[in-house]
Amino acid sequence: MSTPSVSLPIDSSASPTSRAIRIFLTEIRYEVLRALRTRAFSLSSIGFPVMFYCLFGLMMNRNETIGTVAVAKYLLGGYAIFGSLGAAIFGIGVGVALDRSAGWLELKQASPMPPLAYVLSKLCMAVAFSLIIVSILTLLGISIGHVRIAPLAFVRILAIASLGAAPFCCLGLAMAFLVPPTSAGVSPT
């Protein structure tokens, strides 16, 4: 994925608050960019919910309902959350565990980066992926599955998917720190 070259405006006269905000924004932007560029991650975390939704929601179970809701609509919500769970667990859990075992996390900790910026960038990455997944699924549902969704309902799904990413992120983080890193931590050097 090619990106336009963006130069970071670094202004030494900026106040600490605006500098902190810029650090957060930079960290978030590059985390999202990094995740999108990592094809193995971006294709699988977006691809799986889309594939499953097409398979179970659009191809099979046509014209069937669960309660009063059409399967295509019901599973749209289900796979949207499935997608945000995948992005959070694999993106954050595995990503942070790798950063930790390789010593990259320590280098970040040793820098003046506010620790929250690292966590928040991971969270925003998962939220961004959730939004992408929900949008693709909704588009597929409307165009192929004849799902009718009011604009307000779509906004609500987006909001739920992005809010819902937060607990999954916590789960991912907890996993990354509970599982002992494979390579680091053993050697005292």
């Binding site: 670094i10 650090i23 990094r34 560029r37 010593g103 005292p188």
Partner: protein
């Protein structure tokens, strides 16, 4: 504090014991003086990286104190004045070299100009590459640039030249010397005596978390040349074919180590004359006698293995 201007960082009687029972740093005290390049020299597992991590506030000491610029290393204001290069196995691979450097520059209010960093780390032409596409030596150079991103007053370089070819190593040495010339304080860990000798104003030899000796490179080297130094006596290596047993040899004056090399016995002794006199008296068949000053590497090996 008048001494604060002189000492920028110090460990005082610091011990670090890991949960698995390994004592990585054992009652270590050291001071880094402003504007100096200090080399922490020791074999693998000596506690060099742990000492650096203690000074960076990345791990808390089990006992003792750590102070950087007179305050806690975890203080954010302290972090703005330090830069660090750790042994990193993997960095985010899908970010470009330029992006990595700029992300770190953004953390500091007065970062080093981008072009200076690229030049200092010899990264010209690699700026648009993804980190994952770089060779080991190139990755090392990116990490070096990151360490300098904030125009720090104090830099920790943990094994900076690992994986570099000879040419890049010399280039990095020149850069480290240039840092010192600009008045930065540099703490460098290495297991190459040559590197410590080439760069440092002061060498601290550590093993198993303890200081074995420290001093100016000339002083540390002089131990190898057989002169007496402040902390440890000079020693020589005696090589000969002898029928004396290792236990007998160990009992002789000043003997530090006895080893067998082929049919020759090698004895490291601080009092070569006295030891030789005894050996010649006890073993009339002694032959193929050689006495030599240990080379620098030998001196280092002996220092670190005997303590």
């Amino acid at each position: 504090m008048p001494s604060a201007a002189q000492t920028v960082a110090s460990l005082k009687n610091t011990t670090k014991r890991y949960k698995n029972g390994v004592t990585a740093v054992d009652h270590l005290s050291l001071d880094l003086s402003s504007g100096q390049v200090i080399a922490l020299l020791g074999p693998n597992g000596a506690g060099k990286s742990t000492a650096v991590k203690l000074m960076m506030g990345l791990s808390a000491p089990t006992s003792g104190t750590v102070s950087i610029f007179g305050s806690d290393p975890r203080n954010p204001h302290t972090r703005l004045r330090t830069g660090v290069m750790l042994q990193v196995g993997r960095a985010p691979e899908m970010l470009r070299v330029r992006e990595h450097i700029n992300i770190f520059r953004g953390y500091y209010p007065n970062p080093t100009p981008y072009s200076n960093l690229v030049k200092a780390a010899a990264l010209e032409g690699l700026e648009e590459r993804f980190f994952g596409q770089l060779s080991g030596g190139q990755r090392q150079r990116v990490l070096f640039a990151i360490a300098l991103a904030g125009d720090p007053d104090l830099v920790f370089l943990d094994e900076p030249t690992v994986g570099l070819d000879i040419e890049s190593r010399r280039a990095m040495w020149a850069e480290i010397r240039a840092l010192a010339a600009r008045g930065l304080t540099v703490l460098l860990t290495t297991h190459y005596l040559e590197e410590a000798d080439a760069l440092a104003h002061r060498i601290i030899v550590i093993n198993k978390g303890r200081i074995i000796c420290e001093g100016a490179p000339a002083g540390v080297k002089s131990m190898g040349a057989g002169y007496r130094s402040e902390t440890t006596g000079g020693f020589k290596i005696v090589r000969c074919a002898t029928t004396l047993t290792a236990d007998q040899l160990r009992a002789m004056p000043g003997v530090l180590a006895v080893s067998l090399a082929g049919h020759l016995t090698e004895i490291t002794t601080e009092q070569p004359e006295a030891a030789l006199r005894e050996m010649l008296a006890l073993d009339r068949s002694l032959s193929a006698l050689e006495v030599e000053c240990p080379a620098l590497e030998d001196a280092f090996l002996t220092l670190t293995s005997e303590n």
